[in-house]
Symmetry: C2
Subunit: 344 residues, 2 copies
């Protein structure tokens, strides 16, 4: 970098100084937030609703690579992936807590970048940061986010409510985030071997954006409410369509029949898969990190759902004995195998 950036050591502020500094800029959006940061616990008003709680642990070197992940994007994504879990319950998130562990390699300016991303997500999704913890770590960056939301009991969607004959729907498109990661990993390898090379991102802003700055489908929860449709089951596509569909099938005790032609793939993802000599449908099935919503509906709700934007009909649920099958465009029928998340 040409310009010398300012570097403030975190030790200069201490824990409480750091928390005060990082959280001072967060304002409150939610009338239900009675007490946010600064006490032993956050306080949230109830009122006949169910409270839903989701949590994720993100570790440097496992879940993210700071070589190509800007800290601001990372902060944004850390919040978004948790909100996505709340939306997948058909609930509305209201609050998040964020805990971070920092090694001495991180300056105050770096942590402020991370929190600028966390704040951008809070502002966009209108959720309140209400607590957390900061600690030093011996190595690397650790981020733990917990999201809290609410939903009327009659509207909640579990993974377990689907029935044989229900229609399988998915929002948006699948596989692009995985291909974005492949591009970033490729450019990292190029950079490591030839540090003077300029990155060749091939104008793949859409695909790379899907990896670095995903959004959660808050719009779908609103659309479904407006059309008075409650999915029979819902999950967010984080591990990959195959793995996440398998969760619904396992917990609902059903099988599934998916039409390849019904699986939405973005044209840029399609093209990039072929460049990487990957099968686009495999990227869509096993890629993960799409943060789209996979849900099933009773056939009677199909006319309503057809009117909603950005929802694709992918197939239907079958008897458990039929397994989980893909009907390819070529007319063959394959088993869908979950690959999903394999950090261990």
């Amino acid at each position: 970098m040409e310009e010398k950036e300012k570097r403030t050591e975190i030790g200069e502020l201490g824990e409480f100084g750091l928390i005060d500094k990082l959280t001072a800029q967060f304002e409150s959006y939610q009338p239900g937030t009675v007490k946010g940061v600064g006490d032993d616990a956050a306080v949230i008003k109830g009122g006949g609703l169910y409270t839903v709680v989701s949590t994720d642990l993100l570790l440097e070197g496992i879940h993210f690579d700071l070589m190509y992940t800007p800290l601001k994007h990372l902060g944004y994504k850390a919040v978004v992936v948790n909100l996505s879990d709340i939306y997948a319950m058909n609930a509305t998130p209201g609050q998040v807590t964020v805990s971070i562990g920092l090694s001495s390699r991180f300056s105050l300016e770096a942590v402020e970048e991370l929190y600028a991303g966390i704040k951008a997500a809070c502002d966009y999704y209108k959720v309140d940061l209400v607590g957390g913890d900061t600690a030093s770590s011996q190595q690397g960056l650790v981020i733990s986010v917990t999201a809290v939301g609410q939903v009327a009991p009659a509207k909640i969607t579990y993974r377990s409510g689907a029935k044989v004959g229900d229609i399988i729907c998915v929002t948006g498109n699948l596989g692009a985030a995985y291909l974005g990661l492949q591009i970033l990993e490729r450019e990292k390898q190029v950079y490591l071997s030839e540090p003077d090379t300029q990155p060749d991102l091939e104008d793949q802003q859409y695909i790379i954006g899907r990896q670095l700055k995903p959004e959660a489908r808050n719009d779908m929860v609103k659309y479904l409410a407006k059309s008075k449709v409650v999915p029979t089951a819902m999950i967010d596509v984080s591990d990959g369509l195959a793995s996440d569909l398998m969760h619904i099938c396992k917990q609902s005790n059903v099988g599934a029949f998916v039409e390849e032609s019904g699986v939405p793939i973005h044209p840029e993802a399609q093209q990039m898969a072929l460049k990487f000599q990957l099968d686009p449908i495999t990227c869509a099935l096993s890629g993960g990190e799409d943060y789209e919503l996979l849900f099933t509906i009773d056939p009677k709700d199909l006319p309503e759902v057809r009117l909603l934007p950005d929802i694709y009909i992918m197939g239907e649920l079958t008897d458990r004995d039929q397994g989980i099958k893909l009907h390819t465009k070529g007319g063959n029928i394959h088993d869908i195998k979950a690959q999903g998340w394999r950090h261990f």
Copy 2:
């Protein structure tokens, strides 16, 4: 160790297999737990109460040392320190989520030990494990716990509600956990230099237990409810009495006058402090990790509180301008300085 212990690699199970195995043994205590582990989020029933949420991040090498911390104790303590924050709001915890990051050094048997401790805490405090996340880590063990509780709006106790003239109370005794840590650190150094030496724990089971297996004061929340006393402010003693009292004073905009003779110190802690050539009152003020409750009450409630067991009257709140003072047994008056937590 003489016997060869069984070692199962976590990779053999995969993420979902690991979660299933670790959480299968947890039963539900809380009628409010609608949905626990196994969906995108946990679901908790409300009903006119405030929901309180607290979270902690524990990192190996910073917050705990596995050389002298049995994994079962660590799991227990990780839950207890979060429950303590919920009790400090005068609330009752109902649910916890636990996320863990594991390096390849940990076997399934080791993680099961950790979860045995988590389960022991859930069983003792009657809280439900309702979610979490597991991930591999590049180095060391990472534990993130979030606790959720509920409280009637009229009973909630913030750090900010104390007034000049309120009486300062504390439960149990202070400083022992810090001295337990000193013993464990000393024995670690002895072991590192002479591995054949037997540990000399000097029958200090009480002190060491305060460090390795602290309990949260769930009894106090019940006592206070029974005697219909709502403290004006409350905090749990995690960073150290001085630091935690300072939080109340800062947020309530008051000063404090503490009698040294009112600060409860266990006889074993007293004795051990002198052996380490430390001032017992300094250990009590700055030690931390006691997980006792520090609270303030309106003077009119004093007769009721005097009848409750294991509560000590330590002093009273003064004007902010008076600062935070200690009246020593020798008759001197000193400023109380917060040292508290200094991981950075």
